[in-house]
Symmetry: C2
Subunit: 132 residues, 2 copies
DNA sequence: GCTATCAGTATCAAATAGATACCTTCGTGT
DNA sequence: ACACGAAGGTATCTATTTGATACTGATAGC
């Protein structure tokens, strides 16, 4: 009963597509992929561009993306070390849907901020006892 | 200049678009929105459809989505209570980019699972001392 | 031999998610 | 009259994740 004729259902917790869907939506993973969209970037550069992420978490994110075949990790044998991260073709194919989502987010910022204000005011009124 | 002519930059932690981008990518929020794509759904139905989510976390998710103006919460005064959640027009506008992402995930499941196997085997070899 | 660079680990504290039990209201069954 | 069940949550406690901070190891330059 899925909506697009493909196997897989993100609503089924046993379906790998759900795991993958959630990896994409990961707080840092999606940002990293978008940064890598412009070409290979080394670890320390990534840290600066996707600020503020701690090295531990960035490493975890990168390892997970590498494991899933979305990025490659290239170690250059030099001192100090240089490690480049780069999108694989599959990683690049993710760029477009991710960009659409980012554009959606950016274009709806004002509306959402407004909705929050309205909501928060209503909550305040409830707490204070609204003047009804 | 950013890549789409809009203000906002998801890479800037001070930019609200980043917060919003990450709310969309939230583990449960994106699933809830896709479920609501077919029309209003009540709390207990949501729990069943997006299984397995605990009531506390589902409530948190729904409140956050409501606050951001992506869904509405309608309480019907009856016993036992009935509460319907429904997408707002803005919530509906998110459906399409989200669907693209889901389709991407579903169509890349086999490739990603394969990449994982390859990666994990390579890791095992490292640990065991590869037969070289 | 002191210092800096880079790509990370290690360690510990804080925030978040999850499991489980419980609450409220009222109609129905006994 | 009394308990029960339904729906939509909350309260409480624990487990997992995240994050802050300090540190490592190799080497080149001073």
């Amino acid at each position: 009963m899925d909506t697009n004729g493909l196997p897989g259902n993100v609503l089924d917790p046993n379906c790998p597509s759900r795991v993958i869907f959630q990896r994409i939506g990961d707080k840092w993973a999606s940002l990293v992929i978008q940064v890598l969209g412009d070409g290979p970037v080394r670890f320390s550069e990534l840290r600066k561009m996707v600020h503020v992420v701690t090295p531990k978490v960035l490493t975890q994110t990168l390892r997970a993306l590498e494991r899933d075949g979305l990025i490659t990790r290239t170690v250059h044998a030099q001192v100090p070390p240089r490690v480049d991260y780069e999108l694989t073709p599959m990683g690049e194919s993710l760029l477009q849907p991710l960009t659409l989502l980012r554009q959606w987010a950016e274009s709806h910022v004002p509306t959402i901020l407004e909705a929050r204000d309205t909501y928060d005011e209503a909550q305040d009124d409830l707490l204070l006892g609204s003047p009804n």
